[in-house]
């Protein structure tokens, strides 16, 4: 499998684990205290009035509305999809979310439920969340969900291989999955809660992007901590470095643990002040979330009416 030349321009001709190791050695280190201070400073931004409303609408449109539970059913997915298409039945001005994100077995129901709308279907794959099976099985599963109609595939990296320095294995799996999903959008989950250091996060980001990731994503949501602001900042900085080196734009998806509109706005501020306007679109930034949507809808209602309404006024799907 060959990647598009722009991506591989930063890699040596023969890709091996030692070659990838020296590529990752050139990635700038991260000072954890500095990263935390930067996001703390950005978190004091005061977002009011029309800029808040614009942000909340954008956040809705950037959401991958997610259900990833063992007890998911066709009915649950249909309900979630209805909410995704029309988040607030009383307010048609609120945009649809970007995608519904489901397990492979639920893809066919999600495809049915979103047919004819602009809501995409994203499926986790590669034996999410652990990903601990042979590469062939992962590739096969990724190809299968696309065949069933998924527009986007969220794969997990082999964290064990990454931490033990088997960079070629990680790289090759991403490359092969990317090939298998074809034109579907590939989001590569780093599971940053298992990588632990920000240096690892930055290196794994650079590895995933070189291997063909269309998006890099923080977490499965099954491991704590899931998305955090410092991790997101570091991944956005890696995206910026990657674009500088190759000209290729890569998207970002923080997932897990973002539950309030206030939190979501903080992520948007970090995005706005790190990558800026080109990324301020659902094409390049997503939130992976299951409970965030209603809090955002509540905030929009408050901006519109000046009143907070109880959660009973928002549908739970």
């Amino acid at each position: 499998v060959t990647l598009a030349p722009a991506r591989t321009s930063i890699l040596p001709a023969r890709i091996t684990t030692p070659a990838l190791r020296s590529y990752l050695r050139s990635v700038p280190s991260v000072d954890e205290v500095g990263a935390q201070e930067r996001v703390a400073a950005l978190s004091t931004r005061s977002i009011k009035r029309e800029s808040k409303r614009a942000a909340l609408d954008l956040i809705v449109s950037m959401m991958d509305l997610t259900t990833l539970e063992g007890k998911d059913t066709a009915g649950k997915v249909a309900q979630l999809s209805a909410k995704a298409i029309r988040p607030d039945p009383l307010d048609p001005s609120i945009p649809s979310v970007a995608a519904v994100c489901v397990y492979p077995a639920m893809v066919k129901y999600a495809v049915q439920a979103t047919e004819g709308t602009n809501v995409k279907v994203a499926s986790v794959a590669t034996y999410f969340p652990s990903g601990l099976v042979e590469t062939d099985l992962k590739v096969e599963e990724a190809a299968r969900v696309v065949k069933q109609g998924a527009d986007e595939v969220d794969m997990v990296i082999d964290r064990g291989a990454f931490l033990s320095g088997e960079y070629f294995k990680v790289f090759d799996e991403i490359r092969r999955v990317k090939h298998a999903v074809g034109d579907a959008q590939l989001k590569v989950i780093l599971e940053t809660g298992e990588l632990l250091t920000l240096d690892n996060v930055r290196q794994a980001s650079m590895l995933a992007m070189a291997a063909g990731a269309d998006f890099i994503k923080t977490s499965t949501g099954k491991i704590q901590p899931a998305a955090t602001l410092p991790v997101t900042l570091v991944m956005l900085e890696a995206i910026r470095d990657f674009q500088d080196a190759t000209g290729v734009m890569v998207g970002m998806k923080p997932a897990g643990g973002i539950r309030t509109a206030k939190d979501a706005i903080r992520y948007l501020v970090v995005l706005n002040e790190t990558l800026g306007e080109p990324w301020m679109t659902p094409d390049w930034f997503r939130y992976g979330a299951s409970t965030l949507l209603n809090d955002v809808l509540m905030q929009i209602r408050w901006l519109e009416t000046g009143r907070y309404q109880s959660l009973d006024y928002f549908t739970k799907d």
């Binding site: 499998v1 060959t2 990647l3 598009a4 030349p5 722009a6 991506r7 700038p28 280190s29 991260v30 000072d31 205290v33 500095g34 990263a35 201070e37 930067r38 004091t44 931004r45 005061s46 977002i47 009011k48 009035r49 029309e50 800029s51 808040k52 614009a54 942000a55 954008l58 449109s61 990317k178 090939h179 074809g182 034109d183 063909g212 570091v234 900085e237 500088d244 000209g247 290729v248 734009m249 948007l268 706005n272 002040e273 800026g276 306007e277 080109p278 990324w279 301020m280 679109t281 659902p282 094409d283 390049w284």
Partner: protein
Amino acid sequence: LTLSSEIATTTRASLKWDYAQSRESTDIVGIEDRYGLFINGEFVKPKSRRYFPTINPATEEALAEVAEAGEADVDLAVSAARHAYQEVWGPMPGATRAKYLYRMARMVQERSRELAVLETLDGGKPIKEARDVDLPLVAAHFFYYAGWADKLEYAFPGIKPKPLGVAGQVIPWNFPMLMLSWKVAPALAAGNTVVLKPAETTPLTALIFGEIATEAGLPPGVLNIITGAGATGASLVTQGDVDKVAFTGSTAVGKLIQQQLAGTSKKLTLELGGKAAQVIFDDAPLDQAVEGVINGIFFNQGHVCCAGSRLLVQENIHDRFVDKLKRRLATLRVGDPMDKNTDVGAINSRAQLEKINELVDSGLSGGAEMFQPDCVLPDRGFFFKPTLFTNVAQSHRIAQEEIFGPVLSILSFRTPEEAVEKANNTPYGLSAGVWTSKGSRILWMADQLKAGVVWANTYNKFDPSSPFGGYKESGFGREGGRHGLLAYLDTGEA
């Protein structure tokens, strides 16, 4: 087999997101039309009968009139301080002195929003900084030195320290309340009494602090606050009954004070200018280093004596690092200091703006290359765009003189030895920054750099327990920490 092309296709429009104005309300602050001098526990009219206006540098509107203390007023303030020292504060047990300091610290916390707003109105710094940096540190300094007041005998083993008497203190306009706390808290904790002169352009928060002292029940005369310009400061430091002079400000004035005090028995500490180097090695955490450099030079519009105004970047990452800096510069929000989202506020005065302009012109005519982001400055008030200079030589004035504004001069180096040589090649020696992932190099650099403070992989970090002060023309004496007590104590050493 090659995958699909990498042409970025955006199907949904991107949001150009500009934050709506979010102004801090000024309703909390009540400013009087005219302020007297705070002498012996009350506000009195100046014997000089002279007043001068203080303005908001962001709008050039007058805020209030402030008394200009003449020699007779200075004498009155010093004699009030002398009386309080002899009768009340000197003999008072340390634990009782601590009680007043703790009380004032708590009152600063209670009124911190009001003081932050006033600091921004009178001085032009962003409300975000006054609120999140200045005022929390002011309270922290009072709390910290309150703790020392009854433990002075344990501070220096084997020595029974005594207070010096009356301290005459002159502070600058860049951190009006914070510099007040750096001066007043250790002086009072050590048992001295104080006559303080705040800067001409930023007197208002110090006057409010006079109110706080009164409300805290601080005995009259222990703290006196006299306002005025350079002449008032000169009268204070040369007044015959002042035992100790502490000055923070320009090196030129510091030298003058040292000359005037030569041959007297007055004790002196000086905290003067700086031209700090930030040294970036190629193994540094680059994006955090960018933040550190931005914070180092644009914090408080660069009106910081320890501002990291010279950037030394290792040659092999110079271009990449400068690109990152330029991009970051473009996201700085310059303008109305009262807007909670403003990063860079107003230059403190017209005179300072002219000085910055003059030095920037000298950089341009010397052949350095200037970069400024594309930002719109307000029509009124004193503002200056965040500015970078590349292609700077050591001999340029912008690499040698303290600009005290949002202007960074960038030079490069090849080896650690060259970095040290360039960093130390300045008459100043207040602070420096080192950015590298290598711990041993941090220690080596800290050992080699002739600077009072060396920050590693961070910058502009302050804590009341950490001493601060300079080498060479950046002054002498330390403020903060146990060392800061020495400036206000007689330890019996010659």
